[in-house]
């Protein structure tokens, strides 16, 4: 994929064989990775579909921790930043005016590029009348890939000190063509990283917890997915009983409640140790498999499949 390209904002269906399901939350720590991994492992276990797990929480990826002891292949990811040719430059300052992000500055005779502020938009290279600025590559992190028991796992790891996760998420999503089911384990929050994960996916799972914080952030996550035009269902994790503010909300709003996972010590300890949910509680296998069916129905409801 070209540097900096974002997948299309339109949610168009791809082939019948390819389905993308994003897993988001709003609230951190609700169990996105637990559910993403559980779903991916359960589907891979059936053997009917090619399954890929993409960990798009590139600031703090955790999905790969559930597949220890496998060799991972790393590919460096770069973004474009301008490189200055001082000899060709006539110090006109057009590039400084053109930059919307304060990434270019003219200090007397010297042009400085503040790479942390650069959005790789290409405006400065475009406006330069002397072609004194050209694109050069700057590393921001890596994409890792491993294979585990019929499942392909890939994740992005943003370099510490790098501010912008979105270019890495975009390149992770664009890496390799795939026909099958892709589960995209998203970051917490409802801002640009979550958008970059969920945009263009066929359906989303909002993983929440039955607390006031969970409810507050569920509302925000919904709003963002509505804006993206991605249909969604809710997974309530860490349930104590079948009543809560979140259960009530889902009922009132007629949101599809697709799965409830209990607050239980064995699940908490197993999850802490990086054991996939179907291995801790095999009885949740069918319910996890059903999530794919539910997502297909959601997507079909939006005219996408």
């Amino acid at each position: 994929m070209p540097l900096g390209k974002t997948p299309s904002a339109e949610t168009t269906a791809t082939s019948d064989l390819h389905m993308e399901i994003s897993v988001v939350s709003g609230k951190g720590g609700t169990g996105k990775t637990s559910i993403s991994v559980g779903l991916a492992v359960a589907l891979a276990g059936i053997g009917n579909e090619l399954v890929r797990l993409l960990d798009c929480d590139v600031e703090a990826p955790n999905a790969h921790l559930y597949f220890p002891g496998r060799a991972a292949i790393a590919t460096q990811v770069t973004v474009a930043v301008p490189s200055w040719n001082g000899e060709a430059c006539d110090r006109c300052g057009e590039c400084v005016s053109a930059c919307a992000f304060g990434a270019v500055g003219l200090f007397g005779d010297r042009l400085e590029v503040f790479v942390e502020h650069c959005h790789s938009c290409g405006a400065c290279t475009y406006v330069c009348p002397k072609s004194a600025l050209t694109d050069t590559s700057r590393p921001i992190g890596d994409i890792y890939q491993l294979a585990a028991d019929g499942l392909a796992v890939a994740w992005g790891l943003l370099d510490v000190g790098e501010p912008r996760a979105v270019p890495l998420i975009d390149q992770l999503r664009g890496s390799g063509s795939f026909s099958g089911v892709t589960i995209l384990d998203g970051p917490p929050g409802t801002a640009c990283s979550m958008v970059a994960t969920a945009i263009g996916t066929h359906a989303a799972l909002i993983v929440t917890e039955p607390t006031v914080f969970g409810l507050h952030d569920l509302r925000l996550a919904r709003k963002t997915l509505d804006l993206l035009g991605v249909p969604y269902g809710v997974v309530i994790n860490k349930c104590q009983g079948s009543r809560s503010v979140v259960h009530d909300y889902c009922k009132r709003e007629a949101l599809p409640l697709l799965l409830e996972v209990p607050l239980a010590r064995d699940i908490a300890v197993g999850g802490a140790e990086g054991i996939p949910l179907p291995s801790i509680r095999p009885e949740y296998g069918p319910a996890l498999e059903d999530l794919l069916r539910s997502c297909k129905t959601l997507a079909a409801g939006k005219g996408q499949l």
Partner: protein
């Protein structure tokens, strides 16, 4: 003035739970900032009354005068974010760089200020709180965090308060880094799990990148003792002492459900540990 930032790397470790409890123990002696601008929760524990509010203009949005657009496609070719196609702008992906506006042969594109959210300065039962609501799908959260911190410093200066506490966002990218700007000390809230351990290392690498002194606490420390030990060791490897271990305590969610930090329940085990933590943190931060 001392600025304490609470981070975690991993989401859901208990940053807001601890921030809320600290607000209780430091009532009136600190200005609090909820820097998790796209999923702010601290105000749910504080009963805020807005005293000041404002719009947040994050950046600019390409806006096309349709009547002027000749559908030439120059914008489509040049945009690196796939945010404009033949004069139709995607608000979700437009980064506001302005390249399309400069390049448009018909000069049909204008860069218009984009309102991305709202910020609030509030009185709460514990003192001043700054928080924000970033609109769904908007970006520039780092800039909004910066605005909140600026407002917090203003208020602290005016009111003679010498401490700012920032309840940080998850992750280690731009929102977390913006929260760390101007910080004097960092409190890292860790979780005893394989994910928690992995992310603890990343967030401590970030605090060291900025040369900021850090201490750590482990939340729900009694659930998986083997991981608690691993977290202590990993923190020590990065010159960070673990200064408190907070047990799993159902008083936390039940107090939150009632709109209070856990500190409101004095007999809760978590509250007692955080009360001692509050004293230890004052020492760690040094005299204000």
């Amino acid at each position: 003035m001392k600025d304490l930032v609470i981070l975690s790397g991993k989401g859901g470790t208990g940053k807001t739970t601890i921030a809320g409890a600290l607000a209780h123990y430091w009532r009136g002696r600190a200005v609090f900032v909820d820097a998790d601008v796209d999923a702010a929760n601290l105000h749910l524990l504080a009963q805020p009354e807005t005293i000041l509010r404002g719009s947040f203009a994050g950046g600019k949005l390409a806006t096309v005068a349709r009547s002027e657009c000749s559908q030439c496609g120059v914008c489509t070719d040049l945009c690196r974010f796939d945010a404009i196609r033949d004069g139709v702008v995607s608000r979700l992906t437009c980064e506001g760089c302005g390249l399309c506006a400069r390049a448009c042969p018909q000069q049909a594109i204008e860069m218009v200020e984009r309102i991305s959210g709202e910020w609030f300065a509030s009185h709460t039962r514990y003192g001043f709180l700054l928080h924000a609501e970033l609109d769904p799908g908007e970006g520039n959260s780092g800039k909004l965090v910066g605005l909140l911190k600026e407002q917090a410093s203003e208020i602290a200066r005016k009111e003679g308060i010498t401490r700012i506490v920032c309840d940080g966002p998850p992750g280690i990218g731009c929102p977390a880094m913006a929260t760390l700007a101007g910080a004097d000390a960092v409190l890292v809230v860790a979780e005893p799990s394989t994910s928690g351990l992995h992310d603890l290392r990343r967030v401590l690498d970030l605090t060291r990148h900025f040369r900021l002194p850090a201490v750590a606490v482990i939340n729900r420390a009694d659930v998986v003792p083997s991981f608690t030990q691993q977290v202590i060791a990993a923190a020590r490897e990065r010159d960070t002492p673990v200064i408190a271990e907070i047990p799993y305590d159902p008083a936390v969610p039940s107090a939150a459900a009632a709109g209070f930090p856990v500190a409101a329940q004095a007999d809760s085990p978590a509250a007692r540990i955080i009360q001692t933590l509050a004293i230890d943190l004052e020492q760690f931060m040094g005299s204000d």
